[in-house]
Symmetry: C3
Subunit: 258 residues, 3 copies
């Protein structure tokens, strides 16, 4: 077993919930809260101190909140000052900078690099090696595939950053680059390798460099049945809150109060 109680709690005001497991050599700094039933694997750093820590003796570490029933895989570096909802799952070697607000039931893949000062909703899935620039806003049920880049500076270098906003249910294909300040609507599909430099409405199918709207996702056929694949919520339920009851039923329940 990798859980030998060979980890370090460095400093004060560390609050570890019930039934939490922490792997070898993992370090937890000041002012970190870990919810019940969470597993943090080996070699992680939780509450990594900010730059000032190295130079200011009066440095105070911002609060970090890890939710319940989460699994943080090895070698994660999570800076102080971020909050995560319950049931987070991560890959290995993620890096999350301060002031990241991440909802519940999210997954964040191996090597993701979240630059801080961002918001991610609930039930979002970030696959491997995604770069989320500061000021990005990712709403609920958004899936993002490997090597996508969220940029934020239209006139580099500057200190006037404009974040990207991606609305609910949208899928961002691998290797896409989202240009500063753009807004992508709900239920879009951004094809792999797109460079998205303007706003797109709900249900847009976008491809190319520069990215162009080449159709309506609702016209993409299913590969498994007669009919269409999008809105995908009718054809995919793994890990989603409508699992077992279907999207429509879940929506009804949700709209009439859970």
């Amino acid at each position: 077993m990798k859980f030998n109680n060979n980890f370090q709690l460095l400093g004060n005001n560390i609050n570890i919930g019930k039934n939490v497991k922490i792997g070898d050599r993992t370090i937890i700094y000041d002012n970190v809260q870990v919810g019940d039933d969470t597993i943090i694997a080996n070699d992680c750093i939780i509450g990594e101190p900010l730059h000032n820590y190295y130079y200011n003796d009066n440095y105070i570490n911002p609060e970090t909140k890890i939710g319940e029933s989460s699994l943080i895989r090895s070698h994660a570096i999570i800076y102080a000052g971020s909050t995560f909802g319950n049931e987070l799952q991560t890959g290995h070697r993620i890096t999350i900078l301060p002031d990241s607000k991440i909802g519940h039931n999210c997954s964040i893949g191996t090597l993701c690099d979240i630059q801080g000062d961002i918001e991610i909703g609930n039930y979002c899935r970030l696959h491997s090696n995604i770069h989320v620039g500061q000021k990005s806003i990712i709403k609920n049920y958004v899936f993002i595939y490997p090597f996508v880049i969220f940029t934020n500076d239209p006139t580099p270098p500057s200190d006037d950053w404009l974040g990207v906003t991606v609305d609910e249910y949208t899928q961002i294909g691998a290797g896409s680059i989202l240009m500063p300040g753009i807004k992508i609507g709900k239920n879009c599909l951004i094809g792999a390798g797109s460079v998205v430099s303007k706003d797109f409405n709900d249900f847009s199918l976008v491809m190319g460099n520069p990215g162009r709207r080449i159709g309506d996702v609702k016209k993409i056929k299913s590969r498994k049945k007669d009919g269409f694949h999008y809105p995908w919520m009718y054809n995919f339920e793994r890990g989603m809150p409508w699992k077992g009851i279907g999207y429509d039923e879940w929506l009804k329940k949700k709209n009439y109060g859970d």
Copy 2:
């Protein structure tokens, strides 16, 4: 020396060959076999347990086989359930998920992220930071350059994955994206930054987004001699089995049984 016998063999049925060196803090889990003369540097995890390990007391770790005369550089994470031929060389911080079948004399560069359920032949070279999605098939003597992405889902999200197939001797340029289910023939050259969304025949030179066949690789001049660079096996032998004897001689030996 970094080999201080300060590593951990966790659990049972670990079979370490002769003259193997293992670096500090490296962890080896159940059911791992390491061939003779192999070096595993510091801070690696070999046989990383699958998700169930954390939640099921009766979890059994799948078998992992590392070959002989291999060099695995520091911070590798190799999940249980993969097999590697002899003379593997890796960079740092590779991540290899379960059910990866990797041949002999391969190199896998720093930060490569191999998602599991894939096959890689012999004498393949994966440069840095390559993402190999599930269901990918990479045949012998294929070279892949940094940041290439093998995708697998034509209608994301879904659970119906279609892997990419790359045939022998093909070169995939840096930053290329290979779309789900495509087949790339033998001896192709995919230019850097291509988005390859359809099949290509042997000897195709492909470029652009979307990738188009812009010529025959056999017409690309050599930069060092009169004549042509491709098929490259006549002009490059470092680390290849035809080293010292030439490609034609090696082919003859191979075909008549060596």
Copy 3:
């Protein structure tokens, strides 16, 4: 505090300056020099030995020089044989291969992978996850954004590498790919996602795949004032040597000997 004197100095001729802090589990090999007031965080490897180290008992580690007042964040792997000027700042998990010559006041972001045999000037900023191929030359005051790739082989595979050269003040947007041997002039802006396959003159605004000159950067309006954003040195001074005095004044001082 993460500085518990729980690090390892392995071998001989290690020269640590005054007031240096070194984090837990960091390993420093033979022939490394660290300048005064530098901080090296936890789990770093400084002076990582070359391939021969594993196989040759008479191996001698090349010299490595880390400057003064630098901050190297956790999990850096810096091979033996590189030199860094003062006031280096790094992110986490950088990998730097041998024979990298890096000037002063540079920053190198999380997950950057510098392949060695390269030169980087002073006051350069490499954001996250940049791949710098061998033979690359990056001059002073160049900023490079995430996931940029510097390639070097026009006819892969070969051993005849042609490095990319990027001249002073140029900005290379996220996800761009720079093809082997190209030269980019001073004060250019390469838009995100460009595939740059030919040379460009000073002040070029370049975009697309393949990258084309679509204008003069001097015509890009400022977003904060009347007038223009480029040359950017008149509108950005954070961390730059002209901070507080302005670019013109600094140039005068510099030219007349400071």
